[in-house]
């Protein structure tokens, strides 16, 4: 995969989530939208090609990429070591902080407190990886297909705790004010644009693109638009 090929083709296939607000959503007109969508469009514009956005899901986004269905993922993909074996990551373009969230009546304030408890997560998400890593052996991790299902399990009382990002927590607070609270932070998670391994020239281009957009403040503006906050510190700094 090279920049030249994409330019020659005149369009780029970009995989993004559409069920991960506010990063990826379907807007009222029924089109993909959100932070990721704006970044994707910016990237296409920078390449001088049209953006062809392909909706993907959490569990199948990597298969989409490595089976050539898309050229690149702007899909809120958290950078992890395991994933780095499968795909090539750019420098961070977004970041979230993920927490263990739970019922206000459940007393948990660290990983050890998860012992014997059921914890819901979205399968194959960053939360999944993080909680699997730190949870004691006797914690029971229940994996749902997406964040909405995990949140629904929490709200309907099927699980007392879930792993969720700060953006999801904001939504939980809106749906069920006062019933749930963040218990403790799991980690700050940087998200990156991903391409197939080996496409070094293309990846160099993407990194350069992000550096330019961070410096120009354009990326920050998009972030403000969707998350009502500037790019987090750990994302805003530019890599080489």
């Amino acid at each position: 995969q090279t920049t030249e090929e994409i330019k020659a083709r005149g369009s780029i296939n970009i995989g993004m989530l559409v069920d991960f607000p506010p990063f990826g959503i379907i807007n009222e007109q029924g089109n993909p939208d959100g932070y990721d969508a704006d970044v994707a469009k910016l990237l296409a514009e920078d390449l001088g090609v049209t953006a062809n956005i392909v909706p993907v899901t959490g569990p199948n986004r990597i298969p989409y990429l490595i089976s050539n269905q898309v050229d690149v993922l702007v899909a809120s993909l958290g950078i992890t070591e395991e994933r780095a074996k499968q795909v090539a990551f750019s420098q961070p373009y977004a970041g979230i902080e993920i927490f263990v969230v739970g019922d206000v009546n459940v007393g948990v304030d660290d990983a050890a407190g998860l012992s014997g408890k059921n914890v819901g997560v979205a399968r194959a998400s960053t939360q999944d990886t993080a909680i699997t890593e730190i949870a004691p052996d006797d914690a029971k991790i229940q994996r749902f297909d997406d964040d909405a299902a995990a949140v629904q399990a929490l709200i309907s009382g099927q699980v007392p705790l879930i792993g969720a990002s700060n953006t999801v927590i904001a939504q939980i607070q809106k749906v069920a004010p006062g019933r749930f609270e963040p218990k403790f932070s799991l980690r700050q998670q940087s998200q990156a644009i991903a391409a197939r391994p080996g496409a070094d020239e293309f990846m160099a281009y993407i990194n350069d693109f992000l550096t330019r957009k961070k410096e120009s403040g354009e990326l920050n503006a998009i972030h403000e638009k969707w998350l009502d906050a500037p790019l987090p510190e750990f994302v805003a700094k530019t890599a080489k």
Partner: protein
């Protein structure tokens, strides 16, 4: 970012019906062709053809449609056969529908009395004319009811195509649910839409079955 379930959300799900329908049409068309071939192979005089068809049926009736879709879509791409979701869905759903329709239709062909084939042989009719003019027209009458019945199964089955990126009704519901966190409205609506689509077909199938049962009892 979370928003209430409103008219736009309703319309988004409603419009997704077109993909459910489109997938169903593709699956049914492909399945009709494949099913006919499989049914003919199953009643063939050529033993290897019969066994091949049987093996094919065992394989595709013995594995989940979900896995078939996944393997066709991602698998073929891995082997460098570029394939778009439409083609992948068409292939997987066609295979799925072919084996089920094939078995249904085989039963219908075998329900045509042997005497009909024997009379055709005795008149010197060859395979093509025998099938086209004698056996299939009679089998078709029997086949209508169970075929419509299977169509209901197929329509519901297309919901699995969401795994390869189709935003049909079920997936549309999931997406809207992620934006509204109002699962009962969303999935209630989705269920109602499927019901509206499928129920008339179910009733039609049952009516025809009954009519046929009455017609053959005498």
């Amino acid at each position: 970012m979370i928003r209430p379930f409103g008219i736009n959300e309703f319309l988004f799900i409603l419009f997704a019906v077109q993909w459910t329908l489109a997938l169903s049409v593709v699956a049914f068309t492909g399945g009709a062709v494949g099913g006919l071939l499989i049914a003919l192979a199953r009643v063939s005089k050529v033993a290897p053809l019969r066994y091949a068809a049987l093996g094919f049926i065992r394989l595709f009736q013995g594995t989940p449609l979900l896995m078939q879709l996944f393997l066709v879509f991602f698998g073929l791409n891995i082997f460098g056969v570029g394939i778009n979701p439409w083609l992948a869905a068409a292939i997987a759903l066609t295979l799925h529908a072919s084996v089920f329709l094939g078995e249904i239709w085989r039963g219908c062909i075998q329900a045509v009395p042997v005497g009909q084939s024997e009379a055709s042989w005795a008149l010197g009719l060859r395979y093509y004319d025998r099938m086209k003019s004698i056996v299939l027209p009679q089998a078709a009458k029997i086949a209508v009811a169970p075929t419509v019945g299977f169509l209901v199964q197929l329509i519901k089955g297309t919901s699995l195509a969401s795994i390869i990126g189709f935003v049909e009704m079920t997936r549309a519901g999931q997406i809207i649910n992620n934006a509204t966190f109002d699962p009962f409205t969303v999935f209630g609506l989705v269920a109602a839409l499927y019901f509206i689509l499928c129920w008339p077909l179910s009733i039609l199938a049952r009516r025809m079955e009954r009519r046929f049962a009455v017609a053959t009892r005498r």
